[in-house]
C-alpha cells in the first residue's frame, strides 16, 4: 500500500491548532515543574550540606530514591497513588482542577529536583576550600564568604548542568501523555488516530522538540564561552 504524505493536513486548520495547543501545554508543564524542581532541589541540597543528621539522611534518601526509579513509574505513582496518599478533601479538589496536569507537574518536579540537588551540591563542593579560607583570612564571616565568594562561583559552574536538567525535564514531559495530559506528544498521537497521518504529526512534533532543545543547548555553549572563562584556579 502506498503511503500518501499530506503535510498540509497537519500544518493547517484544526490539526495545526492542536499542535499549537500541545506546545503551549508542554511549555507550561515544563516551566511549572522547573520552578518547583529548583525550589525542592535547592532545599534538598542545603539539607544534605547541613550538619543535621536526620536532614542529611532524608535528603540522601530522597535523592537516591527518585533518581533510581523510572520516571514513568513515578508518574503513574502520583497519578494513581494520590488517592491512597493524599487526604480525600485534597483529592476532591484536585479532581475538579486539571488533575492529570497536576500529577504530571508533581512527578516531573520531584524527579528533576533529585538531579538538581546533586548538581547544586557538587557545584558548591567544586569550589576549592582555599577560596573559603582566603576570604575568611581577610575577615569575612562564614556567611559573607559564602555569599560573596563561594556561591557566585558555584552558581556559574552550576548553570550549564542546570540547563541540561531543564532540557531533560522538557523532553521528559512527553511521558505525561500516558496519564492524559494534552501536551505536544499527546496531540501528535491524537492527530494520528484521527487522520492516520502519524508520520507527519510525529515529524512535526519531533522538529519542535529538537528546535527548542537546540536553541537552549546553543545558549549553554555561549554561556560557557563568555562567563566561565574567568573561573580558573
Amino acid at each position: 500500500m502506498q503511503y500518501n504524505f499530506d503535510w498540509k493536513l497537519v500544518l493547517s486548520g484544526e490539526y495545526l491548532q492542536w499542535i499549537i495547543d500541545g506546545v503551549v501545554v508542554t511549555c507550561q508543564i515544563s516551566a511549572l515543574s522547573l520552578v518547583l524542581a529548583m525550589a525542592i532541589g535547592t532545599l534538598i541540597a542545603v539539607m544534605r550540606l547541613s550538619a543535621v543528621r536526620p536532614l542529611v539522611w532524608f535528603s540522601a534518601g530522597f535523592t537516591e530514591f527518585f533518581r533510581n526509579t523510572p520516571l514513568l513509574v513515578q508518574i503513574f505513582f502520583w497519578y494513581f497513588g494520590s488517592d491512597a496518599v493524599l487526604p480525600a478533601a485534597v483529592n476532591q479538589w484536585l479532581y475538579k482542577q486539571n488533575f492529570e496536569f497536576a500529577a504530571g507537574v508533581i512527578a516531573l518536579a520531584v524527579y528533576t529536583a533529585a538531579f538538581i540537588a546533586e548538581e547544586i551540591r557538587s557545584g558548591i563542593f567544586s569550589i576549592p576550600r582555599t577560596q573559603l579560607e582566603a576570604s575568611r583570612a581577610c575577615g569575612l564571616t562564614f556567611l559573607q564568604a559564602m555569599r560573596y565568594v563561594v556561591l557566585p562561583q558555584a552558581f556559574r559552574i552550576i548553570v550549564p548542568p542546570l540547563i541540561s536538567q531543564a532540557l531533560n525535564l522538557f523532553k521528559n514531559s512527553s511521558l505525561c501523555m500516558t496519564i492524559g495530559v494534552m501536551e505536544l506528544t499527546y496531540m501528535a498521537r491524537q492527530i494520528e488516530s484521527y487522520t492516520f497521518h502519524g508520520f507527519e504529526a510525529f515529524t512535526v512534533s519531533t522538529l519542535i522538540y529538537l528546535t527548542i532543545s537546540l536553541l537552549v543547548s546553543f545558549s549553554i555553549t555561549q554561556y560557557n564561552k563568555y562567563f566561565l572563562r574567568t573561573i580558573k584556579y
Binding site: 582555599t130 577560596q131 579560607e133 582566603a134 576570604s135 575568611r136 583570612a137 581577610c138 575577615g139 569575612l140 564571616t141 559573607q144 560573596y148 565568594v149 557566585p152 562561583q153 556559574r156 572563562r229 574567568t230 573561573i231 580558573k232 584556579y233
Partner: protein, 242 residues
C-alpha cells in the same frame, strides 16, 4: 611590649604533634624569616596567629592581648593579621580591583569610592595599578601574587604573614614579588615570612628562624645564621638549599 608573643605553643593534628612548644617574640617592625624542611611545621606556626589553625596548648599574644581571649572577635583579629598564600588564592570571579575592595567594603563597610581609591594606591605600590580592571586569570603568577599582597594590605593589618609566597612562581617572576615584600619591610611592617629565598633573608630579615620537627632549633640574625650555623641539621639544610 612586643607585637607578637608565642608562649610554649603546642598544636596537634589528631594524633600528630606538629608544633612542640614554640616560644617566640617579634617586635613591632621586625621581619622574621622562617625556614626549615618540608613538614617541619612552618605553615602551621604562622597560621596559628590569625586563628586559621587552632592551638591546643600555650598562648599567643598580639600587642599583649591573647588572641584566644573570649573578647576577641576572630574576624576582627584577621583584619589585623594579613596573610599571603603560596597559591595566591585570588577570587577568580572578581576583577583585580574588586579582589582588593571586597573585604574593606563588606567587613569595614567602607564606601565603595573610598575603598577603590585606597585599593588603587595599594596596587600602585605593588606596581600593578594598570591591571586593575583585569581578572586574575589574565595576569601572570607574579602579578597575581602582588594583587594578593595588596588585598591583604587593604585591611591595614598590623602584621603580615607570608607562606612561601614565591614557591609557586616561575623564576623570572620571583623578584617582582620579593621587591614588593622588601618595600613593605622597609616601610616598617611587622612580617613573618616562611620562605627559602635566602637573598631576601639576608637583605631585609632581622632574624632567621630554623624549624625542624615542630620545634625552633636555631635562630640568629641573617649574617650569623648563614655564615656560622651552629646546629648540625641547620648546616645540612643550608648545604642543600644554597
Amino acid at each position: 611590649m612586643a607585637m607578637i608573643e608565642f608562649h610554649d605553643v603546642h598544636k596537634w593534628y589528631g594524633e600528630f604533634h606538629v608544633l612542640k612548644g614554640i616560644t617566640q617574640k617579634v617586635e613591632k617592625g621586625e621581619v622574621l624569616v622562617i625556614c626549615g624542611p618540608s613538614g617541619s611545621g612552618k605553615s602551621s606556626f604562622i597560621r596559628c596567629l590569625n586563628r586559621l589553625e587552632p592551638i591546643q596548648k600555650g598562648q599567643i599574644l598580639l600587642e599583649g592581648k591573647s588572641i584566644h581571649d573570649k573578647s576577641v572577635d576572630v574576624n576582627e583579629l584577621r583584619t589585623e593579621v594579613g596573610i599571603v598564600f603560596q597559591q595566591f588564592n585570588l577570587y577568580p570571579h572578581l576583577s583585580v580591583l574588586q579582589n582588593v575592595t571586597l573585604a574593606p567594603t563588606k567587613v569595614r563597610k567602607m564606601p565603595k569610592a573610598k575603598a577603590e581609591s585606597i585599593a588603587m594606591e595599594l596596587l600602585e605600590r605593588v606596581g600593578i595599578h594598570d591591571q586593575a580592571r583585569k581578572y586574575p586569570v589574565e595576569l601572570s603568577g607574579g602579578q597575581q601574587q602582588r594583587v594578593a599582597i595588596a588585598r591583604a594590605l587593604a585591611m591595614q593589618p598590623k602584621v603580615m604573614l607570608f607562606d612561601e609566597p614565591t614557591s609557586a612562581l616561575d623564576p623570572e617572576m620571583i623578584n617582582e614579588v620579593l621587591n614588593a615584600m622588601k618595600d613593605l619591610a622597609r616601610a616598617g611592617m611587622t612580617m613573618l615570612c616562611v620562605t627559602h629565598e635566602m637573598g631576601f633573608a639576608r637583605e631585609v630579615a632581622d632574624r632567621v628562624v630554623f624549624m625542624d620537627g615542630g620545634k625552633v632549633i636555631e635562630e640568629a640574625p641573617p649574617d650569623v645564621f648563614f655564615s656560622n650555623p651552629q646546629h648540625e641539621r641547620t648546616q645540612a639544610f643550608l648545604r642543600e638549599i644554597l
